[in-house]
């Protein structure tokens, strides 16, 4: 496509050629290089009060940063193998950070002193892929291992149950159901999701309530719908489905989810999905799809009477250069930002952490939509950078300074 065609489309800005590509653009505010090798950022999680964010890296450490300034606080070292999940404890112990790893442990860290304060061992060579806190009395921690699910009372650190009959391959996810804390959901590489009742003496035979067969290896699950009565499920072959776990029924099945998402924006092929986000306020579910080059977007998922993946509502370009592994929004509604206009933080296989800023001024958004994203060509990147320079030269200058500053700060801290 040449420039003449691009200009034609620009005039019809109010009536886009295809679906309603009415989305929000986000620009980079900060970009922190967390390491200088071939290492990945796996996950970013925030403390309840947002005074710090924790980042798990493929170097088996967890680093902590300030989400507002990007300042590096410190790191928690101790795991001897891949970290699969991190999470801050709830408001009851706000400074405690939990992590689980392939080294068969679930560890607790004090995020102020970066020291390990507790360690639960799941048994020799039982990799831990996921953990969740819950139980009827809030005293249980469940962990998904190599085909086993183990439960401990975290107050006494004693193991209360070991469920080893319900899965025959790695249990990649365990979640206590948010509004029904005595129910535990597990998902595995064997393609099954199991729902357990965790009250009393737990065993596979009597406490297995339901089994949902996805038919293929499951990567991530989460809850959505009013009263968390539905669950979403992302598989390793990049398909998505939504289930009603009470009725044991599939609400929607997107076998060609990547193709559907690719059609819902004008950018490159969607290669994978990072996660799903649900907003309880708006009762809407989004799936975050990305390209191998690092661009990603929020695609709304409709699983009611019509089952579709809608047009991208938020697009994030120019931040990552590799696969995006984690997206942490400040608010549960994409597009909504906090008082400083920050959308959130993301991390990926380029070892980078990016902080995204929403530009609220309407004319900026409009010109981006018309000139760069309606036209599908190699010229996209060049044009976009041009428009960025034309419209917001001040922002870019300060951005570059900020990036260089943080890059040097993190380099000094790490070495």
């Amino acid at each position: 496509m040449d420039i003449a065609e691009g200009m034609e489309i620009e005039e019809n800005i109010s009536t886009p050629t295809r679906n309603n590509f009415n989305f929000k653009r986000f620009g980079i505010k900060n970009s922190i290089q967390t390491n200088f090798g071939e290492d990945y950022v796996f996950e970013i999680v925030a403390k309840d009060d947002w005074t710090s964010i924790a980042v798990s890296l493929s170097t088996n450490v967890v680093k902590l940063y300030s989400p507002h300034t990007g300042q590096y606080f410190g790191e928690c070292r101790g795991h001897s193998s891949m970290i699969h999940k991190i999470s801050f404890a709830g408001p009851s112990s706000p400074h405690v950070l939990y992590s689980c790893s392939s080294d068969s442990t679930v560890r607790a860290w004090d995020s102020r002193s970066f020291q390990q304060v507790a360690c639960i061992s799941s048994g020799p060579s039982e990799e831990v892929f996921s953990f969740s806190f819950g139980g009827a009395d809030g005293n249980l921690i469940a962990a998904g291992c190599n085909s086993q699910i183990r439960l401990w009372d975290w107050r006494t650190m004693k193991q209360t149950a070991c469920l080893e009959e319900s899965h025959m391959d790695d249990v990649t996810q365990v979640h206590f159901v948010p509004s029904h804390q005595n129910k535990l959901l597990s998902a595995s590489v064997d393609g099954l999701m199991c729902l357990f009742d965790t009250s009393g003496e737990i065993n596979d035979d009597d406490h297995l309530l339901s089994v949902f067969n996805m038919g293929t290896s499951i990567g991530k699950v989460g809850f959505c719908g009013q009263a968390d009565d539905k669950l979403w499920c992302l598989t390793h072959i990049e398909t998505l489905s939504v289930w009603d776990w009470n009725e044991s029924r599939t609400e929607a099945n997107f076998d060609y989810a990547r193709a559907l998402a690719s059609e819902s924006w004008t950018l490159d092929q969607v290669d994978y999905f990072v996660d799903c986000h649900y907003s309880p306020e708006e009762d809407r579910l989004w799936v975050i799809g990305g390209t191998n080059a690092g661009t990603f977007g929020y695609f709304p998922v409709n699983f009611g009477s019509t089952k579709t993946i809608g047009s991208a509502e938020a697009v994030f370009q120019g931040g990552h250069t590799g696969i995006v592994r984690s997206v942490l929004p400040v608010s549960s509604v994409p597009g909504r930002t906090n008082s400083q206009g920050i959308f959130g933080w993301t991390g990926g296989e380029d070892g980078r952490m990016c902080c995204w800023l929403s530009d609220e001024s309407p004319e900026t958004n409009h010109s981006w939509v018309s000139s760069t994203l309606v036209e599908k060509s190699h010229k996209i990147h060049r044009k976009r950078h041009k428009s960025l320079l034309e419209l917001r030269p001040f922002f870019l200058k300060s951005n570059v300074c900020v990036v260089m500053f943080y890059a040097s700060v993190s380099y000094l801290w790490n070495n």
């Binding site: 009959e165 025959m168 035979d205 290896s217």
Partner: protein
């Protein structure tokens, strides 16, 4: 433009036309080369050559399939040999990178002798009888009394299970986790779909999983299938698996095809 060019031209033509021409034609390459003008050669060369070196080449695949089939015919076996696709990956870290694991449905059934049992409601049991599919109803399942040994025996008798909506919800209560542990929890069949097509779908679905090492094998067919069916199964599975890799073909180090008793033949 000398002798060296001829094979290349023929090669490109075959790449284009495999799906349209009979296999017989492909065995007579030199007939085509004389029919080509210089222009058409250059055109096809320009459009196809970038893709050629980067991907699995149809001609190589077709020839290898023929080779494997003829090798196997030389020695008679007492069973139908399975054809396996072996994939070696590179530039991929099984620890850091996203898991490479899942199931994919192939166009042609690779293991037709797969035994399936229908755990059905009244309607499905009737349908199953009509198509010669073994089945059990809720009463029969209740008779197992959640006995672990009996459930294990049931799991061993079949390769896979199907279940009606009304029955599948009761399985944890009727049978406990026995089928889970055996990796044979049933797949749902609704009354809106044909039971026979669901059976075929189950038989045509293969599992693949990369564990700690960078190679894996998948069963993609058997020697009772036509060469064309083998070709389609292999091409489809290769394309699907490559689409899940972040660097696509740059992540593939090698591809081999092998029949159960034969030696591995390289195709990439």
């Amino acid at each position: 433009m000398g002798q060296n060019m001829k094979p290349v031209r023929v090669y490109l033509w075959l790449e284009l036309s495999y799906h349209y021409t009979h296999t017989a034609l492909a065995h007579k390459p030199y007939h085509f080369s004389s029919g080509f003008s210089l222009n058409s050669f250059l055109l096809s060369h320009l459009t196809l050559s970038p893709a050629l070196s980067a991907k699995l080449q149809s001609e190589v695949l077709r020839e290898t399939i023929t080779q494997i089939v003829s090798d196997a015919r030389e020695k008679k076996r007492n069973f139908t040999e399975t054809v396996e696709l072996q994939i070696g990956l590179k530039n991929y870290d099984p620890q850091k990178d996203k898991r490479f694991s899942g199931s994919v449905r192939l166009p042609h059934i690779p293991r037709p002798k797969m035994k399936i049992c229908m755990l059905g409601d009244a309607q499905h049991v009737e349908e199953a009888e009509k198509i010669g599919l073994e089945s059990m109803d809720v009463e029969a399942l209740k008779k197992l009394n959640k006995n672990k040994k009996l459930v294990k025996k049931l799991a061993k008798r079949y390769h896979a299970f199907l279940a009606s909506e009304a029955v599948i919800k009761q399985i944890p209560r009727l049978l406990g986790p026995g089928l889970n542990k055996a990796g044979k929890f049933p797949t749902l069949v609704t009354h809106q779909e044909s039971l026979e097509s669901k059976v075929n779908e189950t038989k045509a679905t293969i599992k693949f999983q990369l564990k700690k090492v960078l190679c894996m094998g998948v069963a993609v067919g058997n020697l009772d299938m036509e060469e064309k069916q083998l070709f389609q199964n292999i091409q489809m599975s290769v394309n699907f698996l490559v689409s899940l890799l972040k660097k696509n073909w740059q992540n593939v180090r090698c591809l081999y095809l092998k029949s159960t008793m034969g030696k591995p033949q390289r195709i990439f």
